[in-house]
Symmetry: C2
């Protein structure tokens, strides 16, 4: 385990593929090496489709990887203060579970409208949950205040080199699990861009010609607009999509420095396309996806990428579905 | 492919572990080698738990294996008549999909109260669906009449050596996927007993001390009672359980000759225990199970077997869940 740098230095450092490889060593035997399932039902026009099932990761989403990689590297001198995080739910659970494994106290700042299941599960991992109003309060400010008051280490949901590197281990696994096949297209859900940046680092290192595609909810297409303008663009809204886990206000600073170079394209999917993908996963794949975890599949199903003859990896990033939302998507 | 015997000889022949190995060779590259997922959330008291995910099999259940193994062995001289099968749904889909792959005509006799999804999917594979009344008509008689009229080959849902052998390939895979671990307990859903008999043949051949446990819906515990009395006992009812895929009237003749020797125990689970398992799989495992496919998991969750310190394999046999039933089980 590399000792953490002083915060200001650490937080400004753009991670590399080497950091992702370090994270993979740290996470070996701790995180689940989630299966890459072949999906014959999605294969036509000569394309091969593989689903990276991060829904089977601890806490039901990829977020455990980045959280654990970050928390495990907190130096001994700072461990007593514990950690504080802000999250709509999946990062919260990831941090809470990692903190429990590592014996750290955790406080999590969550929006009042986060799915009840995610709040309950975060608390069930032993974290203290502090609620805020997504439209009127700043979660960064609340978390910052708690960090100062308690000398706790802030664990951002995406804009942190250890978090990005941890999420990137998904990309290393995809490449390894494809064995002799090279991925032509990798479809990755994007919000703050941590998973996208990490996977891009890992995949482009191994397969420079792979096409990295960010998938965003319609109306929250900050990556698409930022890639066009060349600077970080903000979303007009902070709520109002079925994809509760993909509502970051804009790409992260560090993540965007990576994704602007390595990501080839961004596409977006409507709430209806997402519901349809959740229903397809239920009926045909027998997998439980939350809306935000289904956007990459939705993009493939809705024909947002030209995948004919290609080897496509689709990241199913989270499965913490609210029962009522899920029931409505499957026509229950 | 072994040529089929004359019907009367073939149907009286009790399959062996060698037949299961033959089926595995035939199904290689045709059936999905479904993943055996470790379930850390189910592990306590020193037990190791592995889930055999037949929900990812073609048509969403293990039934494709036996159907394909049976249909592929129909001799050329009998192919023109096609096949006829009776089934509450999963065998129907398995036969329809196998027939389509092999270029055979298929007629399927299904109960009028089978889930709409299963009827639709059977028809979608190109099979002709004939409906009957589960309480008042005999599916065997209807299927037998169609077989005579059309010179079609009858494909029974469990009491056929090729069907039993095909289902047994699940057991070969479990043993292979456990690598150096030996299964101490294998929990298998039971209805007619085809899956149970096949898996018992495969597992006991490799691990004679493994404990094979049949899991039945409460009120449909024909295997439990038959193991006690030593002869095939009939269920009092033909409907009335949430487990629509596990309502065979009694153990099969061939299957019982195998299971009476090789199965160690039978336990049963209530509809509430099954609903609870379907909900657990949704929330914690992110897997879609139909009620009948969830009984083995339900038995483990409800503590029906003493699994402390053991290596346990749990067969998740089907995922063709009706959306309304599923929604109710998850609290949508």
């Amino acid at each position: 385990v590399t000792p953490a740098l002083a915060d200001s230095d650490l937080l400004a450092r753009i991670p590399t593929a080497t950091d992702v490889a370090d994270a993979a060593r740290l996470l070996d035997g701790v995180a689940v090496r989630t299966p890459l399932l072949r999906a014959p039902l999605l294969e036509h026009s000569g394309r091969r489709v593989f689903l990276k099932c991060e829904i089977f990761q601890h806490t039901g989403s990829f977020k455990f990887r980045g959280a654990y990689n970050c928390l495990a590297r907190i130096p001994q001198s700072r461990r007593a203060g514990g950690v504080v995080a802000y999250s709509s739910g999946n990062h919260a659970q990831g941090v809470a579970a990692a903190a429990k494994l590592l014996g750290l106290l955790a406080v999590v700042v969550m929006p009042r409208d986060a799915p009840a299941l995610k709040r309950e599960r975060t608390a069930a991992h032993g974290a203290e949950v502090v609620l805020y109003d997504r439209e009127r309060e700043s979660r960064e400010e609340i978390a910052g205040r708690i960090a100062r008051e308690r000398s706790a280490t802030l664990v951002p949901p995406y804009d942190h080199p250890h978090v990005i590197a941890g999420q990137g281990t998904v990309g290393i696994e995809i490449c390894g699990q494809l064995e002799k096949l090279a991925p032509d297209i990798v479809l990755v859900p994007a919000s703050g861009g941590g998973l996208l940046a990490g996977i891009a680092l890992a995949v482009k290192e191994r397969h420079p010609s792979a096409r990295l595609v960010a998938v965003e909810p319609a109306g929250f297409d900050d990556h698409a607009r930022s890639f066009v303008s060349g600077r970080r663009e903000r979303n007009a809204k902070l709520s109002g999509s079925i994809c509760d886990s993909l509502l970051a206000p804009m790409p992260g600073e560090l993540t965007f420095e990576i994704t602007r170079r390595l990501v080839n394209e961004a596409v977006s999917v409507s709430d209806d396309e997402v519901r349809s993908a959740v229903g397809f996963a239920f009926r045909e794949l027998k997998l439980v996806l939350e809306p935000g975890g289904a956007v990459a599949l939705a993009a493939l199903l809705a024909g947002k990428v030209d995948a004919g003859g290609k080897t496509v990896a689709v990241v199913l990033s989270g499965g913490n579905a609210d029962p009522v939302t899920f029931g409505s998507a499957i026509g229950a």
